[in-house]
Symmetry: C2
Subunit: 217 residues, 2 copies
């Protein structure tokens, strides 16, 4: 009984790691579409999101089957419910990548990001993608230390978001309202991807240790 | 055994309805702060969010206790997991109200919304608040018809969002980048509140009928 539970739970966590790899590709590709104005890459991110959605459904079915057949209690029960929450957050990160890709597509053949704010937006995208890459390792290795470190690095995203506002609200801003609105929304999407990555990492800490991580100082 | 399950499940749904009432107040007050530039109302929305967070924790503990002690299977299991998801979404709607209140607070003593776009933003806020009010009734009455109707009305929010972009990207826009960025983000927050309301309503349909509602045409 216990062994079947462990085997099935491991399979669910492997699937979660797989989905987070798909999300990383989505974030990376959406950013490339954004920075190059390449509509075919944007279209690919948008159409491939359906694969993340169906991978989510598969994890949900497996988790429900595990709950029904193995009837886990206490910590085991909380682990399976945590997996259900993680898969919902990973799917949402895929949706947010689609939002980035849609802004890219809307501006083709132009590029939504003026050169002077490109470093800030590019860094936001890199931080978000890096957090998704690290959350894959956190899930695959149930790595508590890496999970806690990830929570700490969320601060850089907040700083980048503030910097982007400073740039687009400065008197020197010459790119008009449309570009400013695009950048504000893009900042929101990348920030939410990072938030979800931290949340998924925190759930791994909970699954392994039975406790939520202490809030970042 | 079955009776204890039903009683505890009813208590969870009552708590969910209670949280959605708190969320409605948050949406309503955040909007008032936004439209009047009243910082004390904004502060209240921000500080009272902790009550929604702790109400969420209580529902989660009760749901886990129900899962552990009653070991529901099949439809009953899915109902309890649906309740866990609903409470997470309701809490998120509270967070989004806090985001609205924070934009209001940032602009005090000014009002973030220029008069010419006020009708659009006010209507977005009304639609969002109305959807939260209706989702309370959907939860309290497990009302499938009202839930399905709510999903259909989401379309108005999309139209309002598009209208707000048309307004702030028009050649006549004279309020600069800051107001435009505020409105774009506010539109996003109200839209997400509406999305979550639809999602919660869909979960009620699933709980009552065992099926997800058909996607809106």
């Amino acid at each position: 009984m216990r062994d079947a539970y462990t085997v099935e739970l491991d399979a669910i966590f492997e699937d979660l790691a797989g989905i987070s790899r798909q999300v990383r590709t989505a974030v990376k590709d959406a950013t490339q579409a954004l920075l190059t104005g390449d509509s075919s890459i944007a279209e690919r991110v948008i159409s491939e999101d359906a694969q993340i959605d169906s991978a989510r459904e598969k994890v949900e079915e497996n988790a429900f089957s595990l709950l029904s057949l193995q009837q886990p209690v206490a910590g085991d029960l909380r682990t399976v419910v945590a997996a259900l929450r993680m898969v919902a957050e990973l799917e949402r990160m895929g949706d947010l990548s689609v939002h980035v890709a849609k802004i890219a597509r809307l501006r083709v053949p132009d590029i939504a990001i003026p050169a002077e704010v490109r470093p800030t937006v590019e860094r936001m995208a890199t931080v978000a993608e890096d957090m998704v890459a690290r959350v894959t390792d956190v899930i695959a290795g149930r790595d508590v230390e890496a999970a806690i470190a990830l929570g700490r690095d969320d601060e850089e995203m907040d700083q980048l978001r503030r910097r982007s506002f400073t740039e687009l609200l400065s008197d020197d801003w010459s790119h008009g309202v449309e570009a400013a609105v695009d950048i504000a929304l893009l900042g929101r999407y990348y920030e939410r991807i990072a938030d979800h990555a931290v949340s998924v990492a925190n759930r791994v800490v909970f699954v392994v240790t039975g406790h939520n991580p202490a809030p970042a100082a």
